[in-house]
């Protein structure tokens, strides 16, 4: 694929820097609050662009190794997983299930809320020998 320059991630970084350094200091009240939230939202988008190719591939790979999941699109495989959990066919003792759920949850937080306290604690625990 042709690499556009600046990349989407770099474009976002410029917009976020503009919001934080130039626009937000001139705003007040509700607009300042919403603009800070908007900058945070752009951070999520930037992390998703950067991380999702890798985390999606890992999630897909892990899904196919769960017992009885038919290979299909990402969404259909996730739907199968949810249905198996809802019907009770899958439970806490399903091989690989809890590891899969931890992996997708940590990956999702690395994009959505990497500053969340529980995420920090989990990453810290995992890096301990």
């Amino acid at each position: 694929m042709m690499q556009s320059s600046p990349s989407a991630i770099e474009l976002l970084e410029s917009v976020t820097a503009f919001l934080r350094n130039d626009a937000i200091p001139k705003l007040s009240g509700r607009e300042a609050f919403d603009a800070r939230v908007a900058a945070n939202v752009l951070d999520i988008v930037e992390r998703e662009l950067r991380l999702a190719p890798k985390t999606d591939a890992a999630e897909r790979d892990s899904l196919t190794r769960l017992p009885g999941i038919r290979e299909d699109t990402f969404e259909v495989m996730n739907r199968q997983l949810c249905e198996k959990l809802a019907s009770g066919q899958y439970g806490f003792d399903t091989p690989g299930l809890i590891d899969h759920l931890w992996m997708i949850t940590l990956n999702r937080l690395s994009i959505d809320q990497p500053g969340y306290s529980s995420y920090h604690a989990a990453i810290h625990n995992r890096s301990q020998p």
């Binding site: 609050f33 919403d34 939230v37 908007a38 945070n40 939202v41 999520i44 969404e75 996730n78 739907r79 997983l81 949810c82 959990l85 809802a86 009770g88 439970g91 806490f92 809890i98 899969h100 759920l101 931890w102 997708i104 949850t105 940590l106 999702r108 937080l109 959505d112 809320q113 969340y116 306290s117 529980s118 995420y119 604690a121 989990a122 625990n125 995992r126 301990q128």
Partner: protein, 345 residues
Amino acid sequence: MKTITPSEAESQLCERLFQVTRRVDPNVTALTGLCRLSGGANQETWSFTAQSPAGETPMILRRTMASGKPATSPEPAAMSTMALEACLLGHAASAGVAVPQVQTVLEPDDGIGDGFLMNFVAGETLGGRIVRDTAFTGARKVLAYQCGQALAAIHQIPVAPLPDLPVLTAIETIDGYLAQHRASGTLRPVFELAFQWLGNNLPSPPEQNVLVHGDFRNGNLIVGGKGLRAVLDWELAHLGDPMEDLGWLCVNSWRFGRTDLPVGGFGHRKDLIAGYEAGGGSVDIARVRFWEVLGCLKWGIMCQGMASAPPDGKPRRVERAAIGRRSSETEIDLLNLLAPCEGDK
């Protein structure tokens, strides 16, 4: 039709509020400093100062602009939400629970919606400050115990004299949130695991259905230097399992980063339990855990719901869009509760 600007609406509110305040104290000569405080999407909270020859009295208006919106809950509309809240505040005060004192309830002729006036209680409500600021170091030592005492007092309020309140059982709560989750169409395997666990671990019905505050958490408490000063936001009160309130208070989402302090980010479970027992209650730890799991799942589904697309096809407001990406916080908290990693906790 002429639309009125926010400042016109505010001066109109001030004018009418002045009349209401004079009903409380005929000596009031003016209102100053009318200011909207942070509040929910449906309820508004305003602060103002009533001026009279005797001095200044800071006051609070809680109101909702009844606009004929369909009720979102199936409860009978015998009493408006705000009138109900005012009534419960009265009962709580009589039971010795720290609450703001209701001064007067709005009447339709007042023309400023449905609500009531209450006295201003000084202190902090922002959870992040309560768990971190040095001003509350002393308060944090006693707050979990005080919350236990307050909850025990709330749960012992005689139910018979209370206005009609819905009974909310665990199973109805689960079914309601499952329906909401299914309607959203989002796929969240961790939520499915939590629903499964809740279904398999349903507690038996409580010995008796008591008054449950329904939203007793860090963020709805006014805290001063010596601890709890008032319990706010009674609009989700219902009858049910007293352990629901204890579980909700411990949900990680209200610990504001202090994950190590399970009670609201300011205290330990043993202190909450000690306060509850000192207040005459008894704690069932397994039930508290059940309600903590359910509380965590509820908040995850609420975040998802707040981020659902507006029906008119317009884009989501940015704050609402952002909150949708917070439901993953509850997924990790659910996993920590239900399937902690080796070495965790």
